[in-house]
Subunit: 169 residues, 2 copies
DNA sequence: TATTGTTATACTCTATAACTATA
DNA sequence: TATAGTTATAGAGTATAACAATA
């Protein structure tokens, strides 16, 4: 189920990977790890993302839709299926009677911890072929890249640090 | 449609991104770029992958299934929809009358070139926030990482360089 | 009137199982 | 008998449009 080849980029003309092609292949590899670790727990990547988002948030359906980049009607079905499995629960909002909050159940929390652990272990294994100096340099550069782009788009890279939940108001 | 946050990893406790979390977020960012560039051309990521795989191959349905990591019945539908749009064509094999070869049409080739160009441009834009020295270091490290892991799994990172097509026999 | 969430509907993507035609 | 491909069927995931309840 894990896609092994990059497919779209890297038409394969050079003998050395370009940065764009390299990042594309790396991205597929990491995405494939996520896919297979989630599948081990009978989770799709989407369900895993849902649980991941809920780890440090108690969002409304609407906020969830924005966090996941989906239409609200898609989130209805997504949460339906997760709720049917006992991984999340809908909680009526007291502030606004139209709203519904979505929270992780204990079972959901266990499952997402498990998935995150497996994911981290397998990505770490991928990285073991690199010398420690490369890993340190890579961490620093990737961090700079993400921070700079997040800043450029006015996003919060560390949502749960300062104020508690509901970050995207 | 592009997922902005990493969601699963990065529970958000540190003030500095770990390498695993960073790679996860980077992977989501790159995947999101692929998604949105493909969507611009009314392609799903799956359709884009199909076209990408076909750029330098003339595989049978069966080979295509292995290349994409899908069941052959899934590939039937995938190719059906692409064929209906005029992006690929089925060609009966002369060697084995059971087999069907799948090839890119001219229109499909144009479209995938367009998609690849847009993808490269947008990923390059993401990278522009980095100093050139970081980009060079990143390219070198990512390349080492991919080559080492490919070698560890006995894979061919440069399929179309030596022998022509049908690499995964 | 505007917003929140759900429902109805439709399409893509995916898999399993059964089938047809060839080998 | 085994392999290549398709079909039938089922389910997840997604979106658009229409709706009910609440603001």
């Amino acid at each position: 189920m894990a896609p092994t080849s990059a497919a779209l980029p890297a038409s394969g003309e050079r003998e050395q990977l370009s940065l764009v092609d390299g990042l594309a292949q790396l991205s597929f590899a990491v995405h494939g790890v996520l896919e297979s670790r989630a599948a081990d727990l009978d989770l799709s990547v989407t369900q895993a993302r849902l649980l991941g988002v809920l780890r440090d948030r108690l969002p409304t359906m609407n906020e969830l839709a924005r966090l996941l980049g989906l239409d609200k009607s898609s989130v209805t079905g997504l949460v339906d299926r997760a709720e049917r499995r006992g991984l999340v629960a809908r909680v009526p909002s007291t502030e606004d009677k139209r709203s519904v909050l979505v929270k992780l159940t204990d079972e959901g929390r266990d499952l997402v911890a498990s998935a995150a652990g497996g994911f981290a272990a397998e990505v770490s294994a991928l990285l073991e072929v690199l010398p420690a100096s490369d890993r340190e340099a890579l961490a620093a550069i990737v961090s700079r890249l993400l921070v700079a782009n997040a800043a450029r788009r006015g996003l919060d890279l560390f949502p749960a640090s300062g104020s508690r939940d509901q970050s995207t108001r």
